[in-house]
């Protein structure tokens, strides 16, 4: 191989590596402390009077949404904070299922983070002051993975549940409905 094409090959390889070294594997162990408010996420159905537009997605969403460490840590917190006691491994029970495509209070990661932090009517507890913001966003990232929403290279390829559920890499992608008209 001639020298210029070898160089260009190297450059291409380096570029590819640089792109691959993206947010996915970043570990935010020194996240922001409690005190910052999680925004009140609107549902897709919310009406904005005067034809104003919905606020943009919270910038923190990009840090957590497809992040391997966030989803993995969120999975451990999901067990430890007893989310599994009400929602099972996504199937629901005392609380609504999290693995389907119906989201009562919105399925965007910032909406889920708000749900966890503020609680919701009909029984979802409020975790503000009991979990740090970083932990809440980790949980929100994991909840999204229960319906297969994050990219498949960010989720675990082995089910941790003893009852041998489907591993997350095989979880079907349950697209969020635009409507959250779910009977109470």
């Amino acid at each position: 191989m001639s020298s210029p094409s070898r160089v260009s090959l190297l450059v291409l390889g380096a570029a590819a590596l640089a792109l691959a070294a993206c947010n996915r594997e970043e570990h935010h162990s020194r996240a922001k402390p409690i005190g910052e408010t999680v925004p009140a996420g609107e549902s897709p159905d919310t009406i904005f009077p005067g034809s104003s537009t919905a606020p943009p997605l919270d910038p923190r969403a990009a840090l957590y949404d497809n992040n391997v460490n966030a989803i993995s840590q969120g999975q451990q917190l999901f067990m430890q904070m007893n989310c599994v006691g009400c929602h099972s491994h996504g199937g629901g029970g005392m609380g609504p299922p999290l693995m389907d495509d119906e989201w009562r209070y919105g399925g965007r990661i910032d909406q889920i983070a708000t749900t966890i932090a503020e609680g919701r009517p009909n029984g979802m507890p409020s975790w503000r002051g009991k979990l740090t913001e970083d932990q809440i966003w980790d949980l929100a990232a994991y909840v999204r993975s229960l319906s297969g929403l994050p990219s498949k290279d960010a989720v675990a390829s082995r089910s941790e549940s003893m009852s041998a559920g489907t591993p997350q890499t095989l979880t079907p992608h349950a697209e969020m409905n635009n409507s959250d008209a779910v009977p109470q």
Binding site: H27, S29, R30, A31, P33, Q80, K130, T132
Partner: protein, 340 residues
């Protein structure tokens, strides 16, 4: 590379603290019967192998020195060294020596193994040690359920009492290793292993997780304190007591926050409403000798540092950095200091 002061500051007390441990993680500590048995076997192996080694070295040097005096090999002549009667008997003797040596090692091995197994059948105390990333959950089992003791990261053993430690894991494979007391035994999720220790010498021993278990495997140490039997019973009785009520107003403020804020989601403090089960039990935190499984020696300053920002001291640890405002930090540490 910039040398920041912080890691040095963290390491320095560790070096000083190392002095308080008996035979700092030394296999030659002879703190327990198991270690003594192991050392005996080790000595036999060293001696036998050393003898063989020296003999081999001796023969090698002899061969090198003799080289210069013997004529070249006369293979053509049909003379073989092996047929020389002295050489033949020497080789037979050598083979016999190897056989005897190996047999000695095998017998020693077998006898040690059997005596270790025998010690394991006689246990008077049962402890369940569960490995988590990256801390040790210790439960002292008792026939009287109300005397069951749950603590973390510091193991107390009574002198001379055979103690069976049941090893479990909540997440990944860890390994229990207190070199001065016994060998390694893995903690495997989904399985119960066990190890029996009969301590022979009082003192403080240091142990370590000996199976890579994640980012902070290096900071998963274990402090083992061997007490005399009466001291051990006194310690157990004291640890069963609920946390003392806070006296000073600062400690009271800290108590209110710790038992109702994020700490209570994970930690348990006996006698209070903080009943979290997934993090080390804090009921008698201040009576322990280290913080965070041997990461830091116990002191007020280290408590401040740990509570304020655990992620900088043990990055990746499951305890989050909450970022307490200064007043609250003072209150929390004041309360934690009362948990003796």
């Amino acid at each position: 590379m910039k040398l920041s002061a912080r890691p040095l500051a963290a390491v320095l007390p560790l070096l000083l603290a190392a002095c308080q441990y008996q035979h700092y993680q030394s296999d030659f500590g002879k703190g327990a019967v198991e270690d003594t048995q192991f050392l005996t076997l080790f000595t036999i192996f060293i001696v036998v192998c050393a003898v063989m080694y020296l003999l081999v070295i001796g023969f090698l040097f002899a061969a090198i020195l003799r080289r210069g005096r013997i004529e070249a090999n006369v293979v053509e002549s049909g003379r073989h060294h092996e047929s020389h009667p002295l050489m033949q008997s020497t080789l037979i003797g050598w083979a016999a020596l190897i056989g005897v040596g190996l047999a000695a090692l095998a017998v020693a091995s077998f006898v040690t193994d059997r005596s270790m197994a025998k010690a394991a059948t006689n246990e008077k105390l049962s402890i369940t040690l569960t490995g988590n990333q990256w801390w040790w959950d210790i439960v002292y089992n008792s026939a009287d359920a109300s005397k069951t003791l749950r603590t973390a990261n510091e193991l107390h053993l009574p002198l001379g009492v055979p103690t069976r430690i049941i090893l479990k894991s909540n997440d990944v494979i860890h390994s229990f290793w207190v070199p001065s007391l016994a060998g390694k035994q893995d903690l495997i999720p989904g399985r119960e292993n066990d190890i029996t220790i009969v301590p022979k010498r009082t003192g403080i021993y240091r142990g370590q997780c000996a199976e890579y278990c994640g980012t902070q495997h290096a900071h998963m140490s274990l402090v083992v304190v061997v007490d005399s039997y009466p001291d051990f019973i006194k310690w157990w009785g004291h640890q069963l007591q609920p946390a003392p009520a806070p006296a000073s107003p600062l400690a009271l403020a800290g108590f209110k926050y710790v038992t109702s804020g994020p700490c209570s989601s994970c930690h348990n403090i006996g006698g209070t409403q903080a009943s979290g089960q997934v993090a080390p039990d804090l009921t008698h935190l201040a009576s322990r000798k280290s913080i965070a499984a041997g990461t830091l020696p116990m002191s007020e300053g280290n408590l401040y540092g740990w509570v304020e920002d655990p992620q900088s001291l043990k990055p990746g640890v499951k305890m989050p950095t909450i970022g307490l405002p200064p007043d609250r930090l003072h209150a929390v540490v004041a309360y934690l200091e009362t948990l003796r």
